[in-house]
Subunit: 357 residues, 2 copies
């Protein structure tokens, strides 16, 4: 069960909650915006659901609340950003700005980030590029190891997501946002919140048998897409988003669900490219429209719905949620109401612990 | 069953076969080298197995044998290469040289290619980068559509591979080379050659049921890794390697297994980055060694072999094949012997139609 809450009320609540723990108001507002961007894009596992965890980390002193986010190396087409252990959403917002500025000026940019923290949904950052007529590719280290190397038992790998956003003309941008595991750990959390059983193939236990109870997720690990292929993809994302930037990888990764104090030294990378390096922008965008339309008008399997393209329903979803509110599962609502109580926030949208409907 | 053939004899045979059909000797030699690079890397589905198909296309006039391979747009960090319908291996070898030169000079390079043809194993091109202390990321459009959009029936998508190569210090480079389908069509061909049954999950028929007979591969389509995730990854690779460069995509893709005459307008992309944009090279390479060793020394599941990392066995495999020859399946040997007969090549390694052992 879920209820819907207006976006501005949620924005105010998140900002107030973070600010009440000492986060400067501009950083709190940026974090709130990026978290709700995730909810609005349909990636609820990286949205307001995460607030209690972030607040725990803030209160435990795990973040630097006054970080000096700075470029420590750069060329006209690259930068290494040190997030100085700031809130991940704030660090990545700054890194994305730098990448977009450099790519706009010089055609191409690769911005690496270290010293960051969990930044939410990768699609949020990749999708900033199409608004500037740019292509964005985002890579990140997940913030807890839930997967061993292929055929192994030691949990050395995270979900290491990739997100790619490509502008079109009249069609919405093509936006892929995926973990290299069959599902993200966020989806496991949502399933637990909804008291759902997970399908086989999402997780296995330490003997390789299917694990379907999301409340037992700490007894097993996530499964990579395509078996050893997803393992390989996970490794290269880990090397490019983490190791290349001097961020944590492998046994260095801090489980931010368990440890709220140790700096996570999270790594991200954002690669941005200007399509007109290769052809006139308008021709490229028109070709994207034609390609997307060819896919969407192609024949579905008997009894199946029309063909979809990643991101094609996002503008409608965002418009719907801005009009009717963001749906939040009841388990999450209760935790947010509890959080409001803990933080002595009297005026909040979750009074009664059960939402507005 | 397979027999082994010395690399120099295969190099001479491929070069002779292509030259006998009118391919200039330097282009023939480059093509032979890249094809055998694929065999040496263990990607037999893109190696000498492909020679009869290439010769068919050469003899049918499907290639431009005297192409003007040229840069049509460029910046200090990018180039669009038009292959002028030359042999794919020759076009990609030139594109890789340009990308490596630009990345060496300016730190980063994104080289797009159009007007190319099937270039073999992506890992061959990505793996050129670590030899120059660079990271390489290769994307390509496959040369035949074997997959519909997720949930659909119309074969609009190819296997669209990605290959990534990352240098280490004492450890071999990490080299991932994968199709975004559960298997490449090349592996289906190898299974057919070896008279093997395919496991369920490689292909499905037009009703979505498993297809396990590789000789019936034209009655079905390949399955993407991770279901809709692999479909999304396939789309973004298609857009970046194909559409962005003005190369063929979707219904424009020419099935080079069926049509030997129509120019394929194949697209590739190679992104190359210098690790020292982000940290000193030696520190990066040492960190890669530590990461690879941590993975490889981690605990396997009970009864499983030691943990592997993509590319870790490649140097040994190459050394073994250079010493003892490249193994070629008997079905392929017979086709190569037939090809030698057709081309009136008297002195070839496949006399007797059954190899050397």
């Amino acid at each position: 069960m879920a209820s819907r809450y207006p976006v501005p009320e949620l924005q105010t609540f998140i900002t107030t909650a973070l600010a009440s723990c000492g986060v400067p108001s501009d950083a709190a507002a940026t974090t709130a915006t990026r978290m709700l961007d995730a909810d609005l894009r349909g990636v609820g596992g990286h949205g307001i659901l995460r607030l209690p965890g972030y607040v725990n980390r803030v209160r435990a002193g795990g973040y630097n609340l006054r970080p000096d986010i700075r470029v420590v190396r750069q060329t006209p087409v690259s930068a290494l950003v040190d997030g100085d252990n700031g809130l991940g959403q704030v660090v990545m917002t700054e890194a994305a700005r730098i990448a977009i500025d450099k790519a706009t000026a010089n055609g191409l940019a690769w911005v690496g980030v270290r010293g960051s923290n969990h930044a939410g949904a990768g699609g949020v950052y990749a999708a900033m590029a199409p608004g500037h007529d740019l292509i964005g590719i985002y890579l990140a280290i997940g913030n807890a190891n839930h997967m061993p190397p292929w055929g192994g038992l030691d949990m050395l790998l995270s979900t290491n997501p990739i997100a790619v956003a490509i502008p079109a003309d009249e069609e919405p941008p093509l936006v892929l946002d995926m973990a290299t595991t069959q599902v993200s750990y966020g989806r496991v959390k949502v399933a637990a919140d909804r008291h759902e059983t997970m399908p086989e193939g999402w997780m296995v236990d330490r003997r390789g048998s299917p694990l379907t109870d999301p409340t037992r997720s700490n007894e097993g690990f996530l499964v990579p897409i395509g078996g050893y292929k997803g393992y390989g993809l996970n490794l290269v994302i880990g090397a490019l988003a983490g190791l290349l930037n001097g961020a944590a990888l492998g046994s260095e990764v801090v489980d931010f669900n368990q440890d709220f104090e140790t700096p996570t030294n999270t790594g991200h990378a954002l690669i941005v490219v200007r399509p007109d390096l290769f052809q006139p922008l308008e021709e490229f965008k028109a070709a994207m429209d034609r390609h997307i339309r060819e896919l969407k008008s192609s024949t579905p399997m008997p009894g199946q719905p029309p063909i979809r393209v990643p991101g094609d329903q996002t503008p409608q979803r965002i418009a719907d949620m801005r009009q009717h509110g963001i749906p939040i599962a009841d388990g999450t609502v209760r935790r947010l109401a509890d959080l409001a109580g803990e933080l002595s926030i009297a005026d909040h949208p979750f009074a009664g612990h059960s939402g507005t409907s």
